[in-house]
């Protein structure tokens, strides 16, 4: 870490402890995304169930991080970069927990559509989108550990790609549903899965913003251009 040690070494151990828990959460969440998409692709019921069950461990870590961070605030009264470290841990933990929930939701929907015939050509784009978010998550966790604001800014910029992939997928599913009403159930689920992945991207972006705040003391100011107008467009269609 960039800073020299605290005179009270227990403070260093506390801060390292909660950050280690964040990294453990990050690892579990990365794994949950990968396994959820794999379960969908291979129609693997067991794997989907495992993802759902695995979410409990992520929730437990989130709770433990929050308890621990609250204790550190009460006992150590962190200020300046220490305060930012603790505040960041709170928020990043929440973001990771939510990403975990989205992975769990994908697994749940996979279980629902597992017996439906696959809709041709829908798998690859969804997998690409999930892969993109997974890479962003991996990079943002690296940026977090290395206190690398530039890498975090790069991750933040990449969320536009995820938004664009989502818009493209949305149109694709709409086409399939209009072509053949028997696709509607599956495509609705697939659409929600795509939406889940798009939301994961937003949470990764939020983590990237936390890393920038942690390192520089300021939240990035410029608004990220929001590409997703799909919902509006869809509204106009009906």
């Amino acid at each position: 870490m960039a800073h020299s040690e605290h005179i009270v070494s227990g403070f260093d151990r506390d801060l390292e402890g909660i950050q280690a828990q964040i990294m453990r959460m990050g690892g579990l969440v990365e794994e949950a995304i990968a396994k959820a998409t794999e379960a969908l692709e291979t129609r693997d019921l067991e794997l989907a169930r495992a993802v759902r069950a695995g979410d409990k461990a992520i929730d437990a870590l989130d709770e433990s991080v929050n308890d621990e961070a609250a204790r550190i605030i009460a006992q150590r009264q962190p200020i300046a970069s220490d305060l930012r470290t603790v505040l960041t841990v709170f928020r990043v933990s929440t973001n990771l927990e939510r990403i975990g929930d989205y992975a769990k939701n994908i697994a749940k929907r996979t279980e629902t559509i597992i017996d439906q015939p696959p809709v041709n050509g829908t798998g690859a784009s969804l997998r690409r989108m999930a892969r993109q978010v997974e890479l962003m998550l991996k990079d943002v966790l690296d940026a977090y550990i290395q206190r690398d604001a530039a890498l975090a800014a790069d991750v933040r910029a990449r969320d536009i790609d995820v938004d664009q992939m989502y818009s493209a997928l949305f149109r694709e599913y709409l086409t399939f549903m209009m072509e053949d009403p028997r696709n509607i159930t599956t495509c609705m689920h697939l659409h929600f899965m795509a939406k889940n992945i798009e939301r994961m991207g937003d949470h990764v972006t939020s983590i990237a913003e936390q890393v920038i705040y942690l390192v520089t003391g300021d939240m990035p100011e410029d608004d990220r251009p929001k590409q997703d107008r799909t919902a509006h467009d869809a509204g106009n269609l009906t």
Partner: protein, 265 residues
């Protein structure tokens, strides 16, 4: 409408009460304060923080010429209070100290009654016309220092017979009794329990409505709680001076960061 804009802006551009320029302090050959420039704002609490021996008390004492009483001490540079150089020969240090009051690091009540300790300043500066007015000043000063309830039944008892924390609050009462425009406080709460500390902090916040307060403190939490401006001193230099909210969330200088977060510098 214009007025509103003025007050809004007033938050950031307060009047300067004390302007210190190129201040140097020497104790014999020891260069204790090095070229310090700082503006103390009116109606603002300014906190001085920094490691022991960095010169906080020394600099604070320059602001009401308390260093005059130390033989080997030499002060250079300008300290301007309301546009007037306080080191000018025409300035009477006693008058100056009524205007710029001080509470010291160690409580130092006079060997007199509790009442007389507080009444002394108002008396010599002729702030009351009769006994009733003086009584009123004594009571309100003791109340402001959060001491009234503990001493109201023994105002004739000697001030030196109080506990350390009570003595410190007596000194605060004595300092506010002359209604100073600037109040200098050197670790005023170091001997106080958390309740008395909170009461003094409340008093400081109240004083800020009308006065300028400068407080030296070793408690980072206290500096963060009570002050709007913070000055960090290190080895006789003023390393960083700015908004308290900024210093305690994102200080500029690595020396400030190390000090306030309790790191090995």
């Amino acid at each position: 409408m214009n007025d509103m804009r003025m007050t809004e802006r007033g938050v950031n551009t307060k009047d300067i009460k004390i302007e210190a320029r190129k201040v140097q302090v020497f104790y014999g050959a020891n260069h204790a304060i090095k070229d310090v420039d700082v503006d103390i704002e009116d109606k603002t609490v300014t906190a001085f923080i920094g490691p022991s021996g960095c010169g906080k008390s020394t600099f604070l004492r320059c602001l009401n010429r308390m260093n005059d009483t130390i033989d080997i001490c030499r002060v250079e540079g300008d300290i301007i209070l309301d546009g007037e150089d306080i080191y000018d020969k025409r300035v009477d240090p006693v008058q100056l100290r009524a205007k710029v009051g001080m509470v010291f690091q160690k409580p130092n009540p006079f060997p007199k009654s509790i009442y007389d300790n507080v009444a002394y300043g108002p008396k010599i500066h002729g702030l009351s016309r009769n006994k009733a007015e003086l009584d009123e000043i004594v009571e309100s000063s003791l109340r402001r220092a959060a001491l009234w309830n503990e001493v109201k039944d023994r105002l004739d008892a000697p001030g030196t017979g109080l506990s350390g924390g009570q003595q410190q609050r007596l000194c605060i009462a004595r300092a506010v009794a002359t209604s100073p425009e600037v109040l200098l406080m050197d670790e005023p709460c170091s001997a106080l329990d958390p309740i008395a500390t909170a009461q003094v902090e409340e008093l400081i916040d109240e004083l800020r409505q009308s006065y300028s307060v400068v407080i030296v403190t070793h408690s980072m939490q206290q500096a963060a709680r009570v002050s709007q401006k913070t000055a960090f001193f290190h080895l006789g230099n003023l390393v960083e001076f700015g908004e308290t909210s900024k210093i305690f969330t994102n200080p500029e200088d690595p020396r400030t960061e190390s000090y306030i977060t309790g790191r090995i510098g």
